[in-house]
């Protein structure tokens, strides 16, 4: 049974990578979810798939290996949390950027090396807990996607 699952894992991971390389942000999130499916199955598969009893001591042995199961259970829940976070990030990124094309995101990283860097902040900058006047000029109208 292991080689079959090895192939299935390959299909899942391959699909995940293909989705991950898409330009649409939601496909990137789906891609990560697919890679997670593949990896979860892989952890269980490499422990060996034998037709033994589940690791419940109320049943009669021999039992399958319980440790990878515990690891994967953790991984599933963490995977859920990451997917939720990524979904929210995708949503916010879309709302902020006005489009969902990841290739057009992130231009801000390639910043001007000679621009002010925050290490030598200007004196007029006030701390977050300093009483300040409400910002008036920076308010902008909501951007709507075309």
């Amino acid at each position: 049974m292991e080689p079959l699952f090895a192939l299935l894992i390959g299909v899942l991971v391959g699909t995940g990578v293909f989705l991950l390389l898409s330009r649409t942000i939601i496909r990137v999130v789906l891609g990560l979810a697919f890679i997670a499916y593949g990896v979860n199955l892989a952890i269980l598969t490499v422990a060996g798939l034998r037709p033994d009893a589940p690791p419940l001591l109320t049943l009669k042995g021999p039992y399958v290996d319980p440790l990878p199961q515990a690891l994967v259970l953790t991984a599933i829940v963490i995977g859920f949390a990451t997917t939720a976070l990524l979904l929210t990030v995708a949503l916010r990124a879309y709302q902020v950027a006005g489009h969902d094309d990841v290739e057009a995101f992130g231009d801000s990283l390639a910043r001007d090396p000679d621009s002010p860097d925050g290490l030598h902040a200007d004196a007029s900058h006030l701390g977050p807990d300093e009483p300040t006047e409400a910002p008036t000029s920076t308010r902008r109208a909501p951007r709507r996607p075309a």
Partner: protein
């Protein structure tokens, strides 16, 4: 809990308490804070006895224990920290303004006090390093306390960067010592093994680097003057009396290990003397009283480093005496400058004069402390300066000459400090004598400086408490007023003569200073290095990380594919036999493949999410096949919730259509996906061979006996590997908070757009399915 552990732990506990109560207590928090140092003060009762030792076990297997070792020197230092800490806390009560954030200031101060006490008392090398770094961090926070000033931020960053450099050096040094000496405890190192080890010289050099950064030796002295952006009580506590002496402490304690090498003295004595002279030279040209004191501290630290660097009984005796004297007079002077600043509103020497009438008590205190600093009788500074000259004379006449030059400059800047009290009264605002809250701490310290001068036997007794710990019990000399006509006495006389000349010819000296100002200084190099690093980092990031996300991923995946491909090419693959494919697995396989292919091709949101769910349910069924009922249940539920989340998000997202990939990239993506698929398959196949027996029988055998449960997976989760689960649920909780924050917050740094009433009133358009 032993007294030493309490002395270290209480400041941290009180820091939390002060943070909680500061809102209610206001400035009175300082009185509460002062209580935190009571156990440290009580340690005074233990000095002179045998060495104390207290161990709190943490991870014994890794040699990570909190071991406190109270030898004479450590206890002396701890009591010193306790005294100055108490006085600084009490002084702050009156000094700080009403608008100060007490809930920050006192916790930082106490956390520093606890770290510093931990640093001097710790015997464990790892803990020593940890406390060392904690003093750097707390110092950073205290320098940057008034973070709305850019100079405070710059000063904090500079101090932190430089002491972090030293921290890294110290980490490497203690790691080497631990490896070479075969113990994680300083007192149990095998010294012969350390000295024979090839790690000896690197460890020595790194220790010198660590000490030089922390104690502001050349060329790292530049952080100390800018650290004066901190409130004055902090300057008195951290940047004159305690933290900057951590490097001196390191030189003193590690000198017992390294002093066999001529390299140790050969590096430290010239370094210390050069720092002493250069610091005093720079102090003489300062107009800001606090900057003057900062450079004077640099100079005095150089003196201490050179004395401990000599690393013989005489040098250590002299250094320990001066350590005590310096703590007394320098903290007193900082308090005096604080009073002047508080009462007149300026610290500029040029704008102040004749303060002696307005501030008579402060004047007396300042005179006592400054004369002690200048090394005049009958004050403590005189006695230790004599010892200093004596030691340097034994090193050679040249050393004495440099020391005398430094001493003369010290004399001159002490006089410059006192100039604000003489002449006609002039100040930006009419000064009044400060209240007892400010003068008493200063007066106590000045009194101590006087007492140590008037009563040499007391000074000697205090110094000798450290004699066992620092191995100078054999030193036969004594602290006396009159040693006879010695080279040291001659040196003192020359110092006074030169110093008096400098004071007398002050304008000429000032012109000379201006002419000798070097074009280049350490601060410029610091700024240059920092700018270069920033530019380099930005350029590298822009070049390598500036790609669009998919291209960046293609780069990483391509690299992994190359490495993985090479591994496959090199390693002969032993594929297991195909085995039997059970019939019940085939529908699952079909489900998984159909889901995967379907999602990749789908252009419709609902289809995509349903197909993803299908794959998820497929893997849940696979878990059942793999005899994992817990996993199947969890996957099923997670899938349900995830699908719901996807649907919720899809209300606002524009679908899952695959935007056309740019030319050539589709082929590359297909290739990469195929490589990933092949890689995953091969990896799983290759991992099927067991190289070691599985560890899981332990869990099966002990699940019921140890954990009392029959569901082994659950017992592993909540008992055997409970710590992992704890970490995991913390992650889940943090993610929940992050999602909440992401949804609620507008764009960073920008107010969310106004929503007009019209939009609120109208029902939101709902999507038709």
């Amino acid at each position: 809990m032993g007294l030493m552990t309490a002395a270290v732990a209480l400041p941290f506990l009180m820091a939390a308490l002060c943070a909680a109560l500061a809102g209610r207590l206001g400035r009175a928090t300082g009185v509460l804070a002062a209580l935190a140092f009571v156990p440290a003060l009580l340690l005074a009762s233990r000095t002179g006895g045998e060495t104390l030792s207290e161990t709190t076990r943490w991870v014994p297997d890794l040699g990570l224990n909190l071991v406190f070792r109270g030898d004479g020197f450590s206890l002396m230092f701890a009591v010193l920290i306790g005294v100055i800490g108490t006085l600084a806390s009490l002084y702050s009560v009156t000094y700080l303004s009403d608008r100060e954030r007490f809930g920050r200031f006192y916790p930082y101060l106490l956390a520093f006090g606890g770290s510093m006490l931990g640093l001097v008392l710790s015997d464990n090398l790892a803990a020593l390093f940890a406390f060392w770094e904690m003093t750097s961090v707390t110092s950073f926070l205290l320098i940057g306390l008034w973070h709305t000033r850019s100079s405070a931020r710059d000063g904090a960053v500079k101090a932190f960067l430089i002491s972090a450099l030293g921290g890294v050096a110290l980490l490497a040094a203690v790691a080497m010592l631990g490896l070479a000496g075969g113990s994680a405890q300083l007192s149990q190192l095998d010294l012969d093994a350390v000295r024979a080890s090839p790690l000896f010289v690197p460890a020595l050099l790194l220790t010198v680097l660590a000490a030089a950064t922390k104690s502001a030796q050349l060329p790292f002295h530049l952080w100390l003057p800018t650290a004066m952006e901190a409130p004055t009580p902090v300057s008195a506590f951290l940047h004159s009396a305690t933290m900057v002496k951590a490097g001196v402490l390191l030189v003193a304690k590690f000198g017992l290990i390294f002093s066999v090498s001529p390299l140790w003295s050969g590096l430290l004595v010239p370094l210390g003397l050069a720092t002493m002279v250069w610091g005093a030279w720079l102090a003489l040209r300062q107009n800001d009283l606090k900057a003057l004191l900062a450079y004077s501290t640099v100079s005095q630290l150089g003196l201490l480093v050179s004395l401990y660097g000599v690393a013989d009984a005489e040098g250590r005796f002299a250094a320990t005496t001066h350590l005590l004297n310096h703590a007394a007079f320098k903290a007193a002077l900082f308090f005096v400058v604080g009073i002047i600043d508080h009462e007149t509103g300026t610290r500029d020497v040029r704008r102040l004069s004749g303060l002696r009438r307005a501030l008579p008590v402060t004047f007396v205190v300042a005179v006592l402390a400054a004369l002690s600093m200048a090394g005049l009788p009958p004050l403590g500074g005189f006695l230790s300066k004599e010892l200093f000259y004596e030691t340097m004379w034994h090193q050679g006449p040249l050393f004495l000459a440099v020391a005398v030059a430094g001493g003369a400059l010290t004399f001159a800047y002490s006089a410059r400090l006192l100039r604000v009290f003489t002449g006609e009264l002039s100040a930006p605002k009419v000064p009044h004598e400060a209240g007892a809250g400010l003068t008493v701490p200063a007066a106590l310290l000045a009194g101590a400086a006087l007492l140590m001068g008037l009563w040499p036997a007391l000074t000697e007794t205090l110094t000798r408490t450290a004699q066992e710990a620092l191995a100078f019990a054999s030193y036969g000399g004594h602290i006396r007023w009159w040693h006879g006509v010695t080279p040291a006495l001659l040196g003192t006389l020359v110092t006074w003569a030169l110093g008096a000349a400098l004071v007398w010819q002050a304008p000429a000296a000032q012109r000379l200073q201006e002419r000798l100002t070097p074009r280049w200084n350490a601060n410029l190099s610091y700024v240059l290095i920092l700018t270069l690093l920033n530019t380099l980092a930005s350029r590298v990031t822009a070049r390598t990380q500036g790609l669009a996300l998919p291209d960046q991923l293609r780069l990483s995946l391509g690299a992994s594919a190359l490495i993985g491909g090479y591994a496959v090419w090199q390693a002969p693959q032993v594929l297991p036999r195909l085995g039997t494919v059970p019939l019940e697995a085939l529908p699952v396989a079909a489900l998984l493949v159909a889901g995967a292919v379907g999602v990749a091709l789908s252009r419709n949101r609902l289809t995509a999410v349903v197909l993803t769910g299908l794959t998820g349910f497929g893997s849940a069924v696979s878990f059942l096949l793999m005899r994992a009922p817990d996993l199947a249940l969890t996957q099923l539920l997670v899938e349900t919730v995830t699908v719901i989340l996807f649907l919720l998000v899809f209300r606002f997202l524009p679908g899952v259509r695959d935007l056309p990939r740019t030319r050539g990239r589709l082929g590359l993506d297909l290739l990469l996906s195929a490589a990933a698929a092949a890689g995953a398959t091969l990896l799983v196949m290759a991992s099927l061979r067991f190289l070691a027996p599985p560890i899981s029988p332990y869990y099966l055998l002990n699940s019921y006996k140890e954990g009392g449960g029959k569901n082994v997976v659950n017992v592993i989760l909540v008992d055997f590997r409970g710590f992992d689960t704890l970490g995991e649920i913390t992650v889940v909780a943090v993610v929940a908070l992050a999602v909440g924050a992401l949804v609620r917050l507008g764009r960073p740094g920008q107010a969310p757009p106004e929503v007009d009433a019209e939009q609120l009133a109208a029902p939101a358009p709902r999507r038709k399915p």
